[in-house]
Amino acid sequence: MSLTAKDMSVVKAFWGKIGSKADDIGAEAFGRMLTVYPQTKTYFSHWADLSPGSAQVKKHAKVIIGAVSDAVAHIDDLPTALSQLSEVHASKLRVDPANFKILAHNIIVAAAMYFPADFTPEVHVSLDKFLQNLAWCLAERYR
């Protein structure tokens, strides 16, 4: 389900609208994921505090959402933009790719919460497609 030119422009426009709230959305999504899908906590057993507001959680959320914002900026060539991150996830982090879908869902929930009027069905479908493409590129080097 590749991104059409319309998907790319819709995602870029929505992400532009999100602006500085991206960090909040990232923190919300990541924190939510750890609570609603407790199995995702298994990847962070080395952290002292896994509660949603904790410093470690917020810091890591910022890293993740920063990478997503970067992917938006390079939306017309995601495979190239994500190739290094894919290598890291494949060889070092080895996160089960099913979890990319879980995080994507929570990013979408957070977007709907923070921007209920702007997160129309059209924006929803394009963002969903974008996040699935991102996940696909992230898993590229796995095998």
């Binding site: 924190g31 939510r32 609570t35 609603v36 949603p52 869902h105 979408i108 929930v109 709907a112 919460m113 209920p116 997160f119 129309t120 069905p121 059209e122 929803h124 479908v125 969903d128």
Partner: protein, 147 residues
Amino acid sequence: MVEWTDFERATIQNIFSKLDYESVGHNALGRCLVVYPWTQRYFGKFGNLYNAAAIMGNPMVAAHGAVVLHGLDRAVKNMDDIKATYAELSVLHSEKLHVDPDNFRLLADCLTIVVAAKLGASFTADVQAAFQKFLAVVASALRRQYH
């Protein structure tokens, strides 16, 4: 039998008491048909589903969305026996409607997103967890009679 905590029970009753079933049902089903267009396969008789505007403006989609939410209400009122409550509906979805059960998850996700947009900050992570657990139990009951 599913174990519900007091928080989960209260959360489910609280959420559904705040929802306008017609509006939320319309939005959730419409969104599902837009975001996951393959789900349109079950609605061949609904007329114009050509684009997002057509789908969201389609009165049959709106009406059916309300039917779905009122169907969910049965589980809200029978949380301790959702399996039995949905036994007939499960047979219907399997034998007559031939709906792939994966679609229950897709619609549940869209409903979660519509409710999140409506409730905003009060849709906390714990509330989301309770809501998604409830919808997962519903989906499981609906797929139970498939064979």
